[in-house]
Amino acid sequence: MILELAVLLALAVLGSASFAVFEVETPGWRKVLKWGVVTAATLALYSLVGHWSLLLPVVLGVAGLCFHLWWCRRHAIHPLRATPRRRYYELRGWQWVE
């Protein structure tokens, strides 16, 4: 289970560090809930299928990354900087405050 926790931790740190700028207005509880569900599901799977449970966060991560790149390209948003920022806010339905 240490391997599963280490991979989840690495994904959480790298994911949140790389894409935090896209989630600055997302409520904290939603971020915690998201990672809580992924962690709980992975550890639950571990008890059933062992290390194959790692496929869940890895597949979810790859799928999420592909969707992110496709969505950013479609809407002309920089995939790492979330710029132009005001347009990104409009697309997310967030209120822009100067």
């Binding site: 949140s16 790389s18 700028v21």
Partner: protein, 280 residues
């Protein structure tokens, strides 16, 4: 190692070679004019800068002892709580000790920014920690009891390019256990100091020193005390991204002096720091 020989080693380690400079030339050239100084990224010594409002830091540190090949990986996450004055953090550890590998004790921390702030030269941030016994004492991975730590880090800007850090700490583990299950109360203390030279704002030379006075349970109600003196030269550098993400890698070699020679070894450090909410 004799003091004179050790000093030579330190000088040799700290002296940048052409290859060394070449590796980081792009970082220096690109960031020396605009980059903010690296803060709160020491390896052995605690810096007294709490996290700024809306900024979270994820810190990974790996150390490996040269002789025993024991290693430790620590992951720390630091969060500001209602601004920079209060900080909450936790540290989880993965240890390899005496042939066993597993999770160590969990540390829950609260730090108060007692002194310091923008443009301040002296920063003080006392810390209170609870050590949760998540490590298995039967395998020497934990203390087997709830423990407490009190630490006092102080950071001082000694000169525009030179920062000093001072640490003092106390720890208490009531009724701790050894591998055989014997119990005794452990009291320890630590003191340390470091100097950080800002070769560039985004590239720092470090020299850290730490004295650790600890104890271990030797028999029911009895402890055996030991003291370790560590000296650790190292470097750290920052990569600042336009998204606001700052990545700070670093590397150091710790020399254990005299009786602590077994504790000599490599430290590899990696920190990610970024905003987690919009800064208005």
């Amino acid at each position: 190692m004799k003091p004179a020989r050790l000093a030579l080693c330190l000088v040799a380690t700290l002296k940048p070679t052409p290859v060394f400079l070449l590796l980081f030339a792009s970082t220096l050239a690109a960031q020396s004019q605009v980059a903010p100084p690296i803060q709160d990224n020491s390896f052995l010594i605690e810096e007294a800068y709490n996290q700024e409002r809306g900024i979270v830091q994820h810190i990974s540190a790996f150390s490996r002892q040269r002789k025993s090949h024991d290693w430790a990986f620590g992951f720390t996450q630091e969060w500001p709580f209602r601004g920079q004055r209060h900080q909450l953090s936790y540290r989880v550890a993965l240890l390899r000790s005496a042939g066993s590998t597993g999770i160590g004790d969990l540390l829950l921390n609260y730090r108060l920014q007692l002194a310091g702030g923008e443009a301040a030269r002296v920063w003080v941030a006392p810390r209170l920690s609870a050590s949760i016994p998540t490590g298995r004492w039967e395998r020497s991975l934990g203390s087997g009891t709830l423990g407490f730590e009190l630490a006092l880090p102080v950071s001082v800007e000694l000169a525009p390019r030179l920062i000093g850090h001072l640490n003092a700490g106390l720890s208490l583990h009531p009724s701790a256990r050894n591998q055989a299950g014997a119990r005794a109360t452990l009291v320890g203390w630590s003191a340390g100091a470091s100097a950080i030279y800002l070769l560039a704002p985004a590239f720092n030379l470090m020299l850290e020193s730490l004295v650790l006075a600890g104890a271990e349970v030797s028999a029911p109600g009895e402890t055996q005390r030991s003291t370790a003196v560590l000296l650790s030269p190292g470097v750290r550098w920052a990569h600042n991204f336009r998204s606001g993400l700052q990545i700070v890698p670093g590397v150091a070699y710790t020399f254990g002096l005299d009786d602590a020679a077994d504790q000599s070894g490599l430290i590899i450090y990696l920190s990610f720091e970024h905003a987690f909410k919009k800064l208005r």
